[in-house]
Symmetry: C2
Subunit: 428 residues, 2 copies
């Protein structure tokens, strides 16, 4: 390898940032490209969607994180292709960027299982804009119900459907129910927000399938206490402006949220390599593209097998471990030391919260549930937030919500067109 | 007046809220209609546009403010017309609302002096969306300059033009310059943000014409210290995607901000009464519409003369005083007491800040400038913020910015399409 080795990283998520962090002190130039100017702490995105946190509390300008690393250049850019022969990344908004080592950490988005026409009706939750869109629709549904004279339309406005009962779906449904039943009553005069229905639909046999049976059953009981109606074992067959088809039954519901499927970014296509059903690039045990040891694919856009043949899960800790692994490989190569042959994933546990007071944690041998789990979850997440300012702000927001029961981020932004609900269905 | 007197207030700005606040204890039902779900603290909006504050720090859900006032109903609604005969307000998104007393407090927006085609190129600053649009464009200009290879395009990207040198224009220009020259250097590798130009254009002979000559001259010197280029005495004659015509000279500049003109909301048109050049409804000295003592117009959408014939200025304290006056009139009428004949405006002073350390205050007899004025300005604004949580959050954000020099609200949100700058001009 030459002296002025240039590592190009596409994607400033958990994997990309861990890699760049761990390259500190390694004699390389780094260019970090992202089409957003911010790193997003996705595990808390559902709290922005449900008015607990503000956008600025869970996202940070990427270039600010590396202000003291002169060898790191941050570019706001949209990668569109990779030329493996000339070793360059193409950008939609600027010149091609040449690399010596390329790391693709471009993440995933939500998938509608061949029903992309559902996307505008049932937004998913991957970006800050997704979160503010969901927040706007949830808040506008209550607002419009307060103005609406037609009882059937009002009921549909006050029915919220979350599709998919993984951690994100459970967390969303729990907080929407809490908002309707505990935060908002007393602020409305014509409607009783406690009559709002929150329906959580899951095609599989039980909620939170990644957790053990008993934790899943506990979460179900907690959701029931919060007033969430859970429907398992029935797939959603249609999503429209006016409601959702659950199996053969139509549920009038003006606000749908999609938390069901995941689709990898097109990194595999850029490289011309094989991908799995979710579009994840099939890479080797050392996370490199077949035949291209200078190209790594990590995080949600990579499909990697563990030693026992099971896939590495698409969660933040896995992406961070992969970023750290690639940094070790680059360092070893530059120093001419033996290069680690295979990435090994260490599962640290699974966490999910149900509303404001309960959580479940599965560390494998140790399982926790209830208020203690909620506090551990909260402290762990504050610990992983970047920057003292955000830690302080989020801790303060949570304490405020915990003690006052009030949500502090209830603004409806983006231009909305107000109109009679009889005219059309979807809220803006 | 009947027992169940219904006061309908359209507009939840400073005037509308003061009125509803002061109607506490008065035996009336109140319906407060706004097309936004939030009250906005407009005097600090420029700090959202310039990445100092987050949106949630200067805006609050209106219905939350009146949760403990069961006689107050808040409706998210877009008023479209008033029927003075049947005494009803028409809504775009719901049933007509009947009133006994109507108060229109619908505010103003920015005006382009017959050049509405400039609006998409040179956004003004009246709403949260305006502020996030300006913030996005300012941040994207720096980002795109970092990627751009063409020197001329890069220079145009690094030239920021603020049109209009009233308090808002001066405040915007000051903070953009501070951001370019003090906050951002060190985070960019290919450009030197200190080379960015901030140009403040004013058609009139001097900046801040509402202030005395010496305070205006002081502000000019402070802007100069911050690196702002001030051009007075020359009107802007065109705004395009690529720059601005100042008199006969074309200045290549990709980011324009409009802080020049004001246009009242269409309240005068709804009532079919006369308006002044800026569209403000000409109301009587008692703020009622001619021939309709049950209809009041207050705040930026009303044109009211003082005793000496000069107009009441379109600023927050004037709107609040008018709201308080109307509450007194309604109370007096209901109690059968003598009704105050005319609104009297008490000018409490004018304030403006220049960057992070200097301000000017004109109390009439007392004039202040410099750091002391800045602290008085900051404390006064924190005092006027609603809610202990926001006061705390803003004080914290300012202290953070003051001590660290860092701005904390630097997210680019809303979907942006990235593309080569050679292709087209305007940033998304």
């Amino acid at each position: 390898m030459q002296k002025d080795h240039h590592v190009v990283v596409v994607g400033g998520g958990f994997g990309g940032l861990q890699l760049v962090n761990d390259l500190k002190g390694v004699p390389v130039r780094v260019t970090l490209i992202d089409r957003r100017n911010h790193h997003l702490f996705q595990p808390l995105l559902y709290q922005v969607a449900t008015t607990v946190l503000a956008t600025s509390e869970i996202a940070w300008p990427i270039r600010h994180l590396y202000r003291d690393r002169p060898e790191v250049t941050t570019l706001l850019g949209e990668a569109t292709a990779v030329d493996k022969v000339t070793r360059t990344v193409m950008l939609a908004n600027g010149p091609a960027i040449a690399y010596d080592t390329l790391v693709l950490a471009t993440g995933a988005t939500h998938a509608y299982f061949g029903h992309d026409e559902w996307a505008p009706v049932a937004p998913g939750l991957k970006t800050l804009e997704d979160a503010t869109t969901i927040r706007r629709r949830v808040l506008l549904a209550f607002e419009q119900a307060e103005v609406e004279d037609d009882a059937a339309i009002r009921d549909a406005l006050l029915t919220f459907t979350v599709i998919g009962a993984g951690p994100t779906g459970v967390e969303l449904a729990g907080i929407i129910a809490e908002m309707a039943h505990r935060t908002l009553p007393g602020e409305f005069r014509r409607i009783d927000t406690r009559r709002a229905r929150v329906v959580l639909v899951e095609a599989g046999p039980r909620i939170l399938p990644a957790f053990s049976d008993d934790l899943s059953a506990y979460a179900l009981r907690e959701l029931d206490k919060l007033g969430v109606e859970v429907r398992t074992g029935t797939p959603v067959t249609d999503c429209t402006d006016f409601g959702v088809m659950i199996g053969d039954e139509f549920l009038p519901s003006r606000t749908l949220v999609w938390a069901a499927g995941v689709q990898a970014s097109p990194a595999a296509g850029w490289l011309g390599i094989e991908s799995d059903r979710a579009g994840r690039a099939l890479v080797g045990r050392d996370l490199t593209a077949p035949g291209h040891p200078e190209i790594f694919v990590i995080g949600d856009t990579a499909s990697v097998k563990q030693e026992d043949g099971s896939p590495v899960p698409g969660i933040a800790p896995a992406a961070k471990q992969q970023g750290a692994f690639v940094a070790r490989v680059i360092r070893a190569r530059l120093e001419g030391r033996p290069v680690p042959a295979a990435f090994r994933y260490r599962h640290q546990g699974s966490l999910a919260t149900i509303g404001r007071r309960a959580a479940i944690i599965d560390f494998g041998r140790i399982r926790l549930k209830g208020a203690l789990a909620w506090w551990i979850w909260g402290i762990a997440h504050i610990y992983f937030l970047i920057g003292t300012r955000s830690r302080f702000a989020v801790a303060w927001s949570w304490l405020w919500t915990y003690l006052s029961g009030q949500h502090s981020a209830r603004l409806i932004t983006q231009k909305e067109t107000l109109r009679k609900e009889g005219d059309a269905g979807r809220l803006p």
